[in-house]
Amino acid sequence: MTIIKYVDAENNVTEVEAETGESIMSLAVNNMVDGIVGECGGAQACATCHCYLDNKYAKHFSEMSEMEEAMLESAPQRTETSRLSCQLMLKDDTPDIEVSLPSSQY
């Protein structure tokens, strides 16, 4: 069983069982993880599913597209490990992953 761990800005942890084919955003939205909003449903239009993905996990996901990079460029609380969680797709061989969340998506 693969676990996706969401750590919010106050260090509250929510652990959710991964589902192949879901994104880290859609998994959060379906498990009442409050720190991820996902207003546009994964169209890379809103950047309200912003999360931080440690570099050690980066190889398990596709690289950032030009659009994702551009959306994050002006997102609040941007850091070097920022990703849009709607673009982090879970596969059969995805290991346990931990992402942390900004204090606000706006």
Binding site: G21, S26, V29, N30, N31, M32, D34, V37, E39, C40, G41, A43, Q44, A45, C46, A47, M67, A70, M71, E73, S74, A75, P76, Y106
Partner: protein, 401 residues
């Protein structure tokens, strides 16, 4: 009694049901939807779902398991036929009468119907529901000719999707330009060029008078006397808010159900959210009704918080997006009432931002393949930003610094 009844099965309804639990609502929650499937995302119907990059499972806003976990009673395939405010009950199409302590009306909007001879023929469709989308997709093939009536977002996105699979596309627009309700002439010109470059036959300033069948398909007769033969048509000429239930119950309605900043209607136990609500907007200092997923979600959260005794004001800033061909439009704000516009960037490169100003103040931005400008605009316009036109147009410097 602690029971929230949510009428509707769209984005606002689904979001409200779950938000109530997140906010700590301990009573019952019933969601009554007249559709036969769980609430789903509508924006992908004209694009990602059309091209099968988004599956029907991925369309779901929340999965079945979440409604179960959150103990939300989802009643599908049923409509609410009446609200009795005195007894605080709703009557369902099955005949059941359900009491409520709080009622959330999230009935959305319906497609405006084409009213001409032949409009009842099976070749005429509208895009609002998943069933509509399935019908349209089944009827648009690479060798067919799609007639799009109305050049708003729905029509233009469907035209782009149909072109992508090689279908022939003709668009009819009764006004002199596309997207006339929401953008200025330059932006309309940009989209007209985009669709023409992609092989769409765009006919402006033209009305449709009649549709009739022929031996091998259908023909539309236009008001200039010409005929267009086609295989299927999609009508996208706007929507009408579903206020019938609220009006019959005596709630104040005016282009939607009128609510206050708490999303509360003229009845203190009834909230209205999503595309059906006519709500105050502080920045624009007027009441607005939006057809917008992000706005619906925000209104849902506000209603849920208020019902849970955590007073919250709805004051989100409107924004929209549209994907057509290789062009992503992101709009921050409402441009209505602008007195000046400034283009930043090169329109021919399909990468620019169009700023709408009113008395020197930025009130909206249409960003074409320019997410950074959009993100900044969405964050900064609500703060009441005044930037000189020269600075807005100068691409060598950031306009927001």
């Amino acid at each position: 009694m602690n029971l929230v009844v949510i009428v509707g099965g769209g984005h606002a309804a689904a979001e409200a049901a779950i938000a109530l639990r997140i906010q700590g609502w301990e009573g019952d929650i019933k969601l009554i939807s007249d559709e036969d499937v769980l609430p789903y995302q509508r924006p992908p119907l004209s694009k990602g779902y059309f091209h099968k990059t988004v599956t029907s499972a991925q369309l779901l806003i929340k999965k079945q398991a979440l409604y179960e976990k959150a103990n939300v009673d989802v009643m599908l395939g049923l409509s609410v036929v009446a609200i009795d405010r005195l007894s605080q009950t709703v009557t369902v199409s099955s005949g059941a009468i359900i009491g409520y302590s709080h009622l959330i009306i999230a009935t959305g909007a319906q497609a405006r119907i084409l009213n001409i001879p032949g409009a009842e023929l099976p070749c005429v469709s509208y895009l609002r529901t998943l069933n509509d989308a399935n019908n349209i997709i089944a009827n648009i093939k690479s060798n067919s000719h799609l007639l799009v009536i109305g050049a708003g977002y729905i029509g233009l996105e469907l035209a782009a999707s149909a072109r992508k699979i090689g279908a022939r596309v003709t668009i009819l627009e009764s006004f002199e330009r596309v997207l006339s309700r929401v953008t200025n002439e330059q932006m309309s010109g940009f989209y007209q060029g985009l669709h023409k470059d992609n092989g769409v036959d765009l006919k402006l300033n033209i009305g449709i008078e009649e549709i009739h069948t022929t031996e091998d398909g259908y023909v539309a007769t236009l008001n200039d006397g010409s005929n267009v033969a086609f295989d299927h048509t999609v009508v996208g000429i706007g929507v009408i808010p579903n206020t019938g239930l609220a009006e019959a119950a005596g709630l104040e309605c005016d282009n939607g159900i009128v609510v206050n900043e708490h999303t509360l209607t003229s009845d203190p136990t009834i909230y209205a959210i999503g595309d059906v609500s006519n709500h105050p907007n502080e920045f624009y200092a007027r009441n607005i009704r939006l057809e917008s997923v992000p706005s619906a979600m925000e209104q849902a959260k506000v209603a849920a918080a208020n019902i849970c005794g955590k007073p919250k004001i709805h004051n989100s800033f409107p924004w929209f997006w549209s994907d057509q061909y290789d062009v992503k439009l992101q709009t921050a704000g409402l441009s209505q009432g602008y007195d000046e516009t400034v283009v930043r960037g090169d329109m021919t490169q399909k990468k620019f931002a169009l700023f709408y100003l009113k008395k020197g103040k930025i009130i909206a931005v249409d960003a074409i393949n320019s997410p950074k400008d959009f993100m900044k605009a969405k964050a900064l316009i609500p703060q009441g930003l005044t930037v000189s036109k020269d600075k807005l147009a100068d691409i060598t410097k950031n306009w927001f610094d």
